[in-house]
């Protein structure tokens, strides 16, 4: 096995894993706080890809040419709009059903993911869309005395930096601010938290917003990297990000990032060295196996069912 290929696959895996990790944060935080899977989260990611392209086009129309400024503006604007989608999702699919059966919010979330998918399809058309490549060029790294080079494009570098930076910022927010404290308190015991004067409804909404914003970062980065997307992408990426969340231990924030990286790397190696056609099958099988044999994941706590 050539070292260069190995290194290249590792790099691809890291990039893939970083985006899975970002999306997985949304799943894991929502699960932590309300104990439910947010099925429409993948579609939130899909929406963010469209929003990215639209804002790029709008900025281009207004003649903004400074690439770094443009990227920053697009990132912030996309995060804002996507976060709003996340907030709306919670407001429509989850809040009215608090205290109803377990099944009901899951079904509304699936309904909403169908709505989002088709809303985007009907508004933007079914064909795949794209953005122009903004950052061209790459670093080349030579490994030892090997002739072949490992290519890291600027976009890939950007992905790794932004992904890890945003994860770090989120960790700081969750551990060192009053908002983070309120989130963690609500996660521990919602009734107690509300008795202590925490507006738990607002905290739950905030968690959806944060999750959506993280998915938006992933959406911007992936769109920059691949350049094309369609209204279907939310589905498969959503399941994979969920797999990452489960792999790391659902409910655990570092777990989501770790799970993302592990999934990204293993998927990249699988498609590089075994079979690229079956890489989705591999990811889904991993999901099924993890859920069966270690549902608490790497960093999660085994559940104690209260009787």
């Amino acid at each position: 096995m050539e070292l260069a290929i190995l290194a290249q696959q590792t790099l691809n895996g890291l990039i893939l894993g970083a985006t899975y990790g970002l999306i997985a944060i949304g799943y894991t935080m929502v699960y932590g706080i309300i104990g439910m899977i947010n099925f429409a989260h993948g579609e939130i990611y899909m929406v963010s890809a469209y929003v990215t392209a639209i804002f790029l086009a709008v900025l281009h129309y207004f003649g903004l040419a400074n690439v770094p400024l443009m990227l920053l503006a697009v990132l912030l604007a996309t995060m804002f709009v996507t976060a709003l989608y996340g907030w709306f999702l919670e407001r429509i699919a989850y809040r009215p059903l608090r205290g109803s059966t377990r099944l009901a919010p899951l079904i509304t979330a699936i309904g909403l993911s169908l709505i989002l998918q088709n809303y985007v399809r009907l508004s933007q058309g079914a064909r795949s869309q794209g953005i122009p490549s903004l950052l061209q060029g790459s670093f080349a790294i030579t490994l030892g005395n090997d002739e072949r080079l490992v290519q890291i494009t600027y976009v890939q570098t950007l992905i790794i930096i932004v992904a890890f930076l945003s994860m770090a910022i989120l960790t700081v927010i969750m551990h060192h601010t009053s908002l983070g404290r309120a989130c963690r308190a609500t996660e521990q015991d919602r009734i107690m938290a509300s008795l202590l004067g925490i507006d738990t409804d607002r905290i739950i909404a905030t968690v959806f917003v944060i999750g959506a914003a993280m998915a938006a970062i992933a959406g911007v980065l992936v769109t920059l990297n691949y350049g094309s997307f369609d209204f279907h992408i939310g589905f498969v990426t959503g399941i994979k990000a969920f797999t990452a969340a489960v792999l790391g231990g659902i409910g655990s924030l570092p777990g989501a990032m770790l799970g993302g990286l592990v999934l990204g790397l293993s998927e990249s190696f699988f498609s590089g060295f075994v079979n690229a056609d079956y890489k989705d099958v591999f990811a889904f099988s991993l999901l099924v196996l993890v859920l069966i044999f270690r549902p608490s994941g790497f960093l999660g706590h085994p559940q104690v069912v209260k009787v």
Binding site: V304, V305, V307
Partner: protein, 283 residues
Amino acid sequence: MTTLLQVNHLNMRFGGVVALNDCNFQVEKNSITALIGPNGAGKTTAFNCITGFYRANQGQLHFFPPNRPSVNLIQLLGQPFTWTDPIHPRRTLKKLGYKLFGGPHRIARAGIARTFQNVRLFKEMTVLENLLVAQHRQLVGHFLSGILNAKNFRKAENNALDHAMKWLAFFQLTTEANRLAGQLPYGHQRRVEIARALCTDPILLCLDEPAAGLNPQETKALSQLIRRLQKELHLTILLIEHDIGLVMELSDHVIVLDYGEVIAQGPPAAVQQNQKVLEAYLG
């Protein structure tokens, strides 16, 4: 007096928290035994270990039903595999069987029924259906005759209905039979839950705070019913209760838990005088 349930060296930890620490006690046949203690003393944990909803970290739980072989309750839950397993293939296979098909339901089948602190009825089903579900084991065999609605199915179903109605009459709930369980007043729900547990024909009935949320009249009526269960139907009852008055009036044997340890046990009068118990409750 013969022992019905023997609890030896029971230990239960949740992460770093020790919920039960070397608990030893026994439940005599045809007695009313009460498990009391301050909040967080480990009463419900002990209950959950006995009824199989938690797997104890250490210790033995033995159940001695009359005229039947004794049951190792912990084994029924499925134990983890150990490195010595390959030497005893038969034991390992048995273990595997328990791992695959074991669980609290096996304990219920062995003859231990329970109720829950926060009533757990099938809310969207009628009271009668609740009681019929409890007789699932006696009925589920008639599959084909059930599909065809054949005679022996109808007979079994009618027997189950009679059985259910008998318990409803015992708890004065006959008029509620066809109402949705979730729509009943709270006091009735508690009684339905006990009736449902009794429909499984248990030997040992475990009641988790049966009087919680009941008014004084309801509590009094309940205590009379529990007494009748013991006297007329020769059931053994293990109960957790906060209402000390009820415990003192009702029970034959009291076990006091504090911080996961048994600090005293004996007849109610003796326990009431116990210095440790007074300290636990007052200080």
